[in-house]
């Protein structure tokens, strides 16, 4: 016969008595008052429920009468229950949680899995999911996005119709080079966002008036268009949405609810990862543009020229005189940026055929 010490709660009132459990032959449990040895309850092992061990928290053994026997005599209890199949599985979890080597293995595995999931798993899943869905799924969302932008920051384009037509005419050769992608062009006044162009999942590519004005050569705009078509062709918009959902899911999965931490800071890892994904997309679109420019025999430096002009223009507007060299500060800033560092982008679009500043002197 084995004995466990603990407390008996009858389940009818909050009153409790010190008690001992006598277990004979590992089948029959008798709960006795610890002082006067009055019989409080009796049950066979098959009818009682022993919860698994969690740290050193007390365990409440449930009896069929509704009473509970509380004990912290974990080793003795697990020794008693050890022969039962169901308890072997429960003890396994505690064994995992209590052995340093297992915990270390779990830690390394989890970190590896999270890293691989964030680095490769999420983008790959989003990519295949985005290509499985019909392209039209983004139409409604895109329409709403434009409507929202029109209400908030964008204003109707102030370009003359003649100018718009001319631009569209130039673009036809780019369109015909990508027959699989359904594109339509929209013009707006950018206002606060300045010289910009962006693609929506539906295939709408929006140019701001400022961007058109800043361009000095029609091939510069064609290069930008090719970059934006790259976003549409690779379904970056959809992939971004799917990636965001997956990331949020991972964070909730790991932390549950993160009380005890200022929650605004909890979104930091998500933002940083999203930005990294975004930079990846920009590189993909840049590559797409380079491939097109090479095929169409347009000098790569057209894109570089426009990029640099936008950068100079932006800096002159914000009051900074010189583009900063990549100092430590700039590198920190890079992690928060949606686009790769402009200098390194420009470096990939070096070629002959443009004006002095951007390419090898043409004389």
């Amino acid at each position: 016969m084995k004995t466990l010490h603990g407390t008996w709660y009858d389940g009818k009132t909050s009153c409790h008595v010190p008690a001992i459990a006598n277990i004979s032959e590992e089948v029959s449990w008798r709960i006795l008052h610890a002082e006067n040895h009055a019989l409080l309850s009796t049950a066979s092992t098959s009818t009682i429920q022993v919860p698994s061990r969690i740290g050193n928290t007390p365990r409440f053994i449930s009896f069929p009468c509704g009473g509970k026997f509380k004990t912290t005599d974990h080793a003795a209890l697990d020794g008693l229950m050890g022969n039962q199949k169901s308890s072997r599985y429960r003890q396994m979890i505690y064994a995992l949680e209590s052995k340093k080597s297992w915990v270390l293995l779990a830690l390394v595995t989890v970190m590896l899995v999270v890293y691989v999931a964030a680095r490769f798993g999420v983008p790959a899943t989003a990519k295949s999911a985005a290509f499985l869905l019909p392209p039209s799924v983004g139409d409604l969302a895109s329409k709403q996005a434009i409507a929202m932008l029109d209400k908030s920051i964008l204003a109707p384009s102030e370009l003359e119709d003649r100018q718009k037509e001319k631009i569209l005419q130039n673009f036809t050769s780019v369109f015909s080079a990508h027959p699989a992608v359904d594109i339509n062009i929209a013009f707006r006044k950018g206002g606060p966002i300045g010289a910009n162009a962006f693609a929506l999942p539906s295939g709408t590519i929006l140019f701001t008036d400022e961007m058109i004005e800043l361009a000095e050569h029609e091939e510069e705009l064609m290069a930008v268009l090719a970059h934006e078509i790259g976003h549409v062709a690779h379904r970056h918009g959809l992939r971004m949405i799917i990636q965001d959902s997956l990331l949020a899911f991972i964070v909730v999965f790991i932390t549950g609810d993160a009380s005890g931490v200022a929650d605004i800071f909890m979104s930091l890892p998500i933002v940083l990862t999203e930005r990294a994904y975004s930079r990846g997309f920009e590189e993909e679109a840049d590559l797409f543009a380079r491939e097109y420019l090479n095929r169409a025999q347009i000098p790569l430096c057209r894109f570089a020229a426009l990029l640099e002009r936008i950068e100079t223009h932006r800096l002159s507007k914000t009051g900074e005189t010189q583009p900063k060299s990549p100092t430590k500060e700039a590198r920190w800033h890079d992690y928060l940026s949606t686009h790769p560092d402009t200098k390194s982008r420009i470096a990939k679009f070096q070629s002959t055929g443009c004006e002095k500043r951007f390419a090898i002197p043409s004389n």
Binding site: I54, L140, G260, A262
Partner: protein
């Protein structure tokens, strides 16, 4: 004297679960009565056990006697009766009953001071504090946490229900008062079921809101209509699965009331441009606390809207002041001013949480007992700051320590002001509640919780 007097009356009734013989023996032992007196007591149709006493004292007798299995009634003595009422019924024996005093002292050693005072008749029940204790530690919880995540990953999320139960059990089991810990009894399969439905709904919603916003809005409306039901289900599941001394908690809030607290009042708050939002918040707190119960004993919420208005006013004031200050400093200090903004954010976060938690507990009563919560803004802000820094510097691995530190802080500053015995709470008969409400609530991040 205008003080109302009470008497304790016995009419020969025995509580469920006791036999007459058991009760006779217990009462005899309690009051040190001979067989003759006990027979007289149990033989009479109606007998006054004690008269001309205050309400608290009468309640105390009722508690002790119901523990022994006798159903007694506390009655107000009609003023015309006071003079006539015979003060020397059985009380003389009772007051001299030394064994009773001993029995009481043994049964409720922690409360013996109050019990002695009552028994010796010097004063009415005095309250004395019993502290909550939290005994978990970060390293221990880290192990549980990391294994939870690993097994959840391996089982593609299925284990997360078990993980949730283990986490809850760890925190409940390490929270103790009066030598007894809390117990979380939910079954993981119930949580898994609720979780699967919740995740399906969430996925439908997020897909719909991205690709078909109208369907998303329809789902959101459906969710809002269901919300009062979800709130009630969530609170009652949570309460029912929580137990202390093998007596479960419960939640009896009605869906109509939940609709008022979580839909009507917030809606009116929006209509009044926020003037009613502290009141809406107060109504939600009141709904949660006053509908909760421990066994058959209901919680009572004694707060008024006033402090909630003061709290919201301060938060608004600090927020406006902070934004103005940061905005005016940005041109001079640049990014350093943004850091100041972060400090303001932290302060507001701490202020709101501290005030909210203190208000909730300091106005929560259970029978004649009540809670005292003493969180402080400065120490709580330091806790949050260090937790957040820890999380950032360790890429999130500090999370278990942050959780344990927060629990430790909150629980160690919580007290239960007891008046009399904590052993007399009675369990209630209850029906099953599924985990669905709670899980949907969790996925959609509704702020509820006690």
């Amino acid at each position: 004297m205008s003080i109302t007097a009470y008497r304790v009356v016995y009419q020969g009734e025995v509580l469920e679960g006791f036999t007459l013989d058991q009760v006779k023996k217990a009462v005899a032992k309690l009051f040190n009565l001979g067989k003759e007196k006990v027979d007289k007591l149990f033989g009479s149709h109606r007998i006054i056990i004690k008269s001309n006493i205050q309400k608290k004292k009468a309640d105390y007798y009722r508690q002790q006697l119901s523990k022994a299995g006798a159903r007694v009634y506390v009655e107000k003595i009609p003023s015309s009766d006071v003079a006539v009422d015979d003060p020397s019924t059985i009380i003389e024996e009772i007051d001299r009953a030394a064994p009773l005093r001993n029995a009481m002292a043994k049964a409720a050693s922690a409360k013996s001071i109050a019990a002695e005072k009552v028994m010796s008749g010097t004063t009415s029940l005095e309250k004395h504090p019993v502290a909550f204790k939290f005994s978990g530690n970060g390293a221990e919880y880290f192990k549980i946490w990391i294994v939870n995540i690993l097994l959840s990953i391996i089982t593609i999320g299925i284990y997360s229900a078990w993980a949730k139960v283990r986490t809850r059990r760890y925190f409940y089991g390490n929270t103790a008062i009066d030598g007894a810990s809390f117990d979380y009894q939910a079954s993981p399969t119930a949580i898994l079921k609720g979780r699967l439905i919740a995740v399906a709904f969430f996925m439908a919603y997020s897909l719909a809101s991205n690709y078909a916003p109208l369907v998303g809005i329809a789902l959101m409306l459906l969710f809002s209509t269901l919300m009062p039901w979800l709130v009630v289900r969530s609170l009652s599941f949570n309460a029912r699965m929580s137990a202390y001394k093998n007596i479960r908690f419960g939640f009896d809030g009605r869906i109509g009331e939940a609709a008022k607290a979580f839909l009507l009042w917030p809606f009116l708050a929006v209509l009044t441009l926020g003037i009613l939002s502290p009141y809406a918040f107060y109504r939600q707190q009141r709904f949660i606390v006053s509908n909760s119960r421990y066994g058959t004993t209901s919680f009572r919420f004694s707060a008024t809207p006033g402090p909630y208005y003061a709290m919201f006013f301060m938060v608004t004031l600090i927020a406006i002041g902070g934004v103005a200050l940061v905005a005016s400093l940005v041109p001079f200090f640049g990014p350093a001013a943004v850091l100041l903004g972060a400090i303001f954010y932290l302060f507001i976060f701490a202020y709101f949480n501290v005030r909210m938690i203190n208000l909730r507990y300091n106005h929560a009563h259970l029978a004649q007992h009540h809670f005292v919560s003493r969180l402080e803004i400065s120490s709580y802000a330091m806790l949050i700051l260090t937790n957040t820094l820890g999380m950032v510097l360790t890429l999130g691995l500090f999370y278990p320590w942050a959780q344990v530190r927060t629990a430790q802080y909150k629980i160690s500053r919580l007290q239960f002001q007891t008046a009399g015995n904590l052993d007399t709470f009675v369990a209630a008969q209850e029906k099953q509640v599924s985990a669905l409400g709670q899980e949907i609530g969790d996925v959609f991040d509704i702020e509820i919780g006690l």
